[in-house]
């Protein structure tokens, strides 16, 4: 299944914030988590994640720090802030409304009855 580019872009911010809400992480690990969560259906161009992370950092949603873990290479770690959690909660409300509306209208029209429950 190919997911529309606009949809990928729109879901990027809540996805990244939600992943960071699970605990601090770095770029490569975030991308792996996205692939795992979406069963590799969400295709991101790897590089694009970084401008997004930098935007979240500018907005104060995440803090960043360069660290070298005991075993591994020097990486830039991102952690979510209180502002970031607030933004994530707001995004969750919006997405819930959208999916509920789509679910209702599709259930009423009798097509694609189950597909949305998984999305």
């Amino acid at each position: 299944m190919h997911i529309n580019k606009d949809l990928v872009a729109a879901s990027a911010t809540p996805l990244v914030l939600a992943i960071l809400a699970e605990g601090e992480s770095y770029g490569y690990a975030i991308l792996k988590r996205v692939r795992q969560l979406s069963g590799s259906e969400l295709e991101w161009t790897d590089g694009m994640l970084y401008p997004l992370l930098h935007r979240l950092s500018r907005l104060g949603y995440v803090t960043t720090e360069w660290r070298t873990p005991p075993e591994g290479r020097r990486r830039r770690y991102y952690a979510i802030t209180e502002d970031g959690r607030t933004a994530l909660a707001e995004q969750q409300r919006q997405w819930a409304t959208v999916t509920r509306a789509l679910g209702d209208v599709w259930r009423d029209s009798g097509r694609l009855p189950m597909a949305l429950g998984e999305a």
Binding site: G27, Y28, G47, R58, R73, D83
Partner: protein, 447 residues
């Protein structure tokens, strides 16, 4: 593995060419690339294959660079310039346009000078209209450069047309104070009118507003540089021409000075647009030198006046000096903010800047106190209303800046919020200048 190291090094050099991607970003991307290669290696790919797949997944450099540029507006600014350089490769696109507008401004300045001479030296219409003879050309230059449509051109022209009507149709009485105030405030208002074509009509974008602040700072630097160079040139010319006759040099000045001053407005703008990276290295240095100096000066002044009291010290002249000082400080703060990389954590410079802002704030409160006392004793005049309004506008801005700086320094908000405050505040300056130009004169019956 050596082969892969070589390939990674080549890739790094290649990525470094993207103007919006800086050194730290490259480190971050490289760490990502290495993680990806390591994983693919473990999955059984050969080193070459792993490298190719990892690079492919990273995405193509043009798109990536554009995405980085979109996020880092300061670097986007560089990006714009780079596009300007590409344009310059096409014959006669950039500089020719600028030259045409500069020459037009110079010619108008000459016509104005001749007209002024005919009507006896310095006629009354000259001062209030001065900026109206020059800034429309700057606005036109940007409207053309940003390729505005008809509606954009109309919206660009509107403030100039309205200002021209208001300034020239108001029946000022002779030696009127409001007329002088209009002469001082109109350039400010029109400068903000230039912002519209400069931003290509997207005046709601906070990033573009910051670009305009940056542009204003760089423009001022270039204008001063051109003025200094021009001063040296004219001085030498005077020395060379002196033996021929003292009047000759004066004649030359009369012709060259007005046109040069008007044309330089456009030339400086063109230099900012096309030679950005030259000043780019200067901006952080200049703010780094002058922010601490101003901070010391303001703190000393605030402390001194706090001890000696202000009641008698503030006469009319000193008040205007203080207003000028506060405006300069605010300009410096804004410019420093526009030159700052927003993602950097709070540092020493931010503390120094907060000190400068706090000093300015204390001075502003004292000036306001003295001013209110004056108004209580002597009543309202156009000058006092204009000064009071300016100080209030500055006070609110400085107080907001100080408050947000404090929260930023204690790590409670991102720098972004501070930027937002300033860019949201910009229209208030324009509105106040417009109020003094359009509302104040009728309020005081054009006296």
């Amino acid at each position: 593995m050596d082969g892969v190291e070589l390939q990674i090094a080549e890739w790094r050099t290649y990525v470094a060419k993207a103007p919006a991607v800086n050194g730290r970003d490259i480190h971050e991307l490289e760490a990502h690339l290495r993680d990806q290669i390591a994983e693919l290696d473990a999955a059984g790919l050969t080193a070459d294959e792993a490298f190719l797949v990892a690079v492919k997944r990273m995405g193509d450099l043009d798109t990536l660079s554009r995405e980085f540029a979109r996020e880092h507006s300061g670097r986007l600014w560089k990006q714009l310039v780079l596009r300007g350089e590409d344009e310059a490769a096409r014959p006669s696109s950039g500089w020719f346009e600028a030259l045409a507008f500069a020459v037009a401004a110079g010619v108008v300045a000459q016509v104005v000078r001749l007209a002024a001479e005919v009507s006896d030296g310095e006629p009354r219409w000259l001062l209030p209209n001065l900026s109206l003879f020059v800034l429309p050309f700057l606005a036109g230059y940007f409207a053309r450069r940003r390729q505005l449509d008809l509606r954009g051109w109309a919206l660009t022209a509107a403030p100039f047309a309205v200002a021209g009507l208001v300034v020239n149709l108001y029946p000022y009485s002779a030696g009127s104070a409001t007329e002088l105030l209009v002469g001082l405030h109109l350039p400010v208002m029109l400068w903000f009118a230039v912002a519209y074509p400069y931003m290509g009509g997207t005046i709601r974008s906070h990033e573009r507003r910051m670009d305009f602040v940056r542009f204003t700072g760089e423009w001022a630097i270039y204008y001063v540089l051109i003025a200094l160079g021009g001063g040296v040139l004219l001085g030498l010319t005077a020395l060379i021409l002196e033996p021929i006759g003292p009047d000759v040099a004066e004649r030359v000045f009369e012709w060259v000075l007005p046109s040069g001053a008007a044309g330089a407005v456009i030339v400086a703008a063109w230099l900012v647009e096309s030679k950005q990276h030259v000043v780019e290295n200067m901006a952080p240095v200049l703010t780094m030198i002058f922010t601490p100096l101003f901070a010391v000066m303001l703190t000393v002044a605030a402390a001194t006046y706090a001890v000696t009291g202000v009641a008698d010290a503030f006469d009319r002249e000193l008040l205007s000096v203080f207003d000028a000082l506060l405006v300069v400080v605010l300009g410096l703060v804004l410019y420093a903010m526009s030159a700052r990389e927003p993602s950097q954590p709070a540092g020493l410079m931010d503390r120094v800047q907060l000190l400068a802002v706090a000093g300015a704030l204390v001075l502003d409160v004292m000036v306001l106190g003295a001013m209110v006392a004056r108004i209580g004793d002597l009543g309202l005049t156009p000058n006092r209303v204009a000064a009071l309004g300016l100080n209030l506008v500055l006070l609110v801005n400085l107080a907001g800046t100080a408050w947000l700086s404090m929260r930023f320094l204690t790590g409670r908000i991102a720098f972004h919020r501070l930027e937002r405050w300033q860019t949201s505040y910009l229209p208030i300056f324009a509105l106040w200048a417009a109020t003094v130009v359009a509302v104040l004169p009728p309020l005081f019956a054009f006296t």
